[in-house]
């Protein structure tokens, strides 16, 4: 097959040599023109609905509430003076970092156990453990909201029956912070599990056998074989998840709507509250812009990794 293709290619070259240079040039030009037009809808979509709004958001952040007057950094100055805003910053960081760490841990441990199971049963376990990721987050969170219900909580029913006191899952500020993280870990760890499982399968079995012969314990095998081999994928997955978790909206919005007393607001829910519900679009845009630094840092690292891999290939 390859021979035929090469033959055809040679014939093609011969033919193009026969034609004049300028028509070859024209043909190349036409190819790139065709390519440009094929990519044009994508360029327009990204340009008009992603890039432009991102910059427009920065412009909006410098306007007053009725969007008639330029106020410079007025919105930011206003935010910096508000305790609620600093609470949102704090909670966003706590929420994203804790959730990502636990998602990564559960995903890593889970992937190991699935990998241990005989190959013919792995499919079933994997299928079962990925279900939270498939359920739309809004629907899954509703189930948790019902499990956390103040008066009918099914968790509290179990707790009181084994002699513990009921927990105010979403009523108390600190428990509510715990609850939103718990739900986020529930919804997000299957993603880590699948990524890590795929990575685990790519680690050559010989490495483990060699380590076993050298008398490595299971812990040493993980530390000296698995982790170094999976370093890249662990980093990429965690960074990607950091972006998504930092920008999370659905879970907090449905579970607590930012309450009690704004203790569980994160950037996204707070900017929705301010921008849409209080109709102060510039202030909401200012709040959401605080997601940019984290986003830019994580994106840089992810991009660097992809570029490196591109060079290796």
């Amino acid at each position: 097959m390859a021979d035929i293709a090469v033959g055809a290619q040679e014939r093609g070259i011969v033919r193009s040599h026969a034609t004049s240079r300028s028509s070859l040039h024209k043909w190349a030009k036409r190819k790139s023109t065709v390519a440009f037009f094929m990519a044009l809808p994508l360029i327009l979509l990204i340009g008009i609905l992603v890039v432009y709004p991102a910059f427009y958001s920065m412009h909006l952040a410098t306007l007053n509430k009725s969007m008639t007057k330029f106020v410079g950094f007025g919105n930011f100055q206003y935010l910096f003076k508000r305790d609620t805003f600093w609470m949102v910053v704090e909670q966003s960081c706590i929420f994203a970092i804790t959730a990502v760490i636990f998602k990564a841990l559960i995903g890593f441990i889970g992937a190991h156990f699935v990998h241990n199971v005989p190959a013919n049963k792995q499919r079933r376990w994997r299928g079962m453990l990925l279900i939270p990721w498939v359920i739309p987050p809004a629907m899954g969170t509703l189930a948790w909201l019902w499990l956390f219900d103040p008066s009918y909580s099914a968790f509290n029913w179990i707790l009181t029956h084994i002699g513990l006191s009921a927990v105010p899952w979403t009523g108390d500020a600190y428990w509510a912070r715990f609850s939103v993280i718990l739900v986020n870990v529930w919804a997000g760890s299957p993603f880590f599990l699948i990524m890590y499982l795929a990575a685990l399968k790519s680690v050559p079995e010989q490495l483990y056998e060699a380590a076993a012969i050298d008398g490595a314990s299971w812990w040493q095998r993980i530390w000296y074989v698995t982790l170094p081999m999976m370093r890249n994928i662990i980093a990429i997955t965690a960074l990607y998840s950091l972006i998504v978790t930092f920008a999370n909206f659905d879970i907090v919005r449905i579970l607590t709507a930012g309450g009690p007393v704004d203790k569980t607001h994160i950037f996204a829910t707070y900017s929705f509250r301010v921008g849409i519900e209080s109709a102060d679009i510039p202030l909401g845009a200012s709040v959401s812009l605080f997601m940019l630094p984290i986003l830019a840092i994580a994106a840089t690292f992810i991009l660097r990794d992809i570029m490196n891999r591109g060079n290796e290939a």
Binding site: A143, A198, F249
Partner: protein, 303 residues
């Protein structure tokens, strides 16, 4: 082969061999124990959704054991499936998702083909740019988009707010970058000889795309379609911000806003609605799990 050689070396006496086997058995048992714990954690909410959906309001209010159904009833399902409002949410969701998948494919396939095979000025930058836009979250864009749509409405008189079809403009921004990205990966993995041969035989670029690339990269296209469908079905922020009247809502927003009337939560119906709403992606997942997972891992592992 290598494992045979290792057994020879590692088991000079039977004792060592047996202890390794012993370890394996215990590792397997512990794996099952922990996997069961994980499965309980992951599956409790959907199972509890199902349990609650079979209960009447009276049974939910009676504060019996919440984990057991004493008088199973389908009344919640019947009420929802005969409620024109709920069916309206379902229809809106289905229309939005199907059209979004179509639009996404129409934009992403030619673009991915152009970027993977036919270089043009700036195509390298564009490929990287696509990946970056995939990382821009909806929570950063919804306010400027909201304002943009309001401005367009002022200028042209076209109402761009509070219609379900407005979501068709918004959802592609979430699905197209990723779909294009994974399809560039799939297209790039197709051997160059294949399309070169077709071009030599006189096929146009469009024919190369439709006769060779689309059939060969079909698994990737299916994965991208599943991804686009799941994202549009689950999207919550855009419909919450852009649509308000009950007849224009999609499922996630419809369930969270209309089934909760004031402070009265009809939990049997909410859980039924959520479960039925989660059913389409779950059914697709049950039948096409491998495509689903290949799409999921393609995003970060391939590229």
């Amino acid at each position: 082969m290598s494992s045979l050689a290792i057994n020879d070396k590692a088991a000079p006496t039977r004792k060592v061999y047996r202890s390794m086997k012993h370890d394996r058995v215990w590792a397997l048992r512990w794996s099952y124990v922990f996997l069961t714990i994980f499965a309980i954690f992951f599956l409790t909410p959907p199972i509890y959704m199902f349990v609650t959906s079979l209960k009447s309001s009276a049974e939910i209010g009676a504060q019996t054991n919440p984990w057991v159904v004493y008088h199973p009833t389908l009344v919640n399902y019947i009420e929802l499936l005969t409620s024109s409002q709920y069916l309206g949410f379902f229809r809106n969701s289905a229309l939005v998702s199907v059209f979004t998948v179509t639009i996404t494919m129409l934009i992403a396939i030619p673009a991915a083909f152009a970027l993977a095979r036919m270089r043009f000025w700036g195509s390298g930058v564009l490929a990287t740019g696509i990946f970056l836009t995939y990382l821009v979250p909806d929570t950063l864009l919804f306010l400027p988009l909201f304002k943009m749509f309001a401005v367009v409405q002022q200028w042209t008189g076209i109402t761009l707010l509070n219609h379900w079809w407005v979501l068709l403009i918004l959802y592609p921004t979430l699905t197209v970058p990723f779909a294009t990205w994974i399809m560039i990966g799939y297209f790039a993995s197709i051997p160059k000889e294949l399309d070169e041969a077709a071009i030599i035989d006189g096929a146009s670029w469009l024919q190369t795309l439709t006769r060779i690339f689309i059939p060969v990269a079909l698994p990737g296209i299916i994965a991208a379609m599943i991804f686009s469908f799941t994202v549009s079905w689950a999207q919550f922020l855009y419909p919450l911000a852009f649509t308000t009247s009950a007849d224009q809502l999609v499922l996630p927003v419809g369930i969270t806003t209309t089934l909760i009337k004031g402070d009265v939560f009809n939990w049997g119906q909410i859980m039924t609605g959520a479960l039925l709403g989660a059913a389409p992606p779950l059914i697709i997942y049950a039948f096409l799990m491998d495509y689903y997972i290949s799409g999921l891992t393609a995003g970060a592992t391939k590229g």
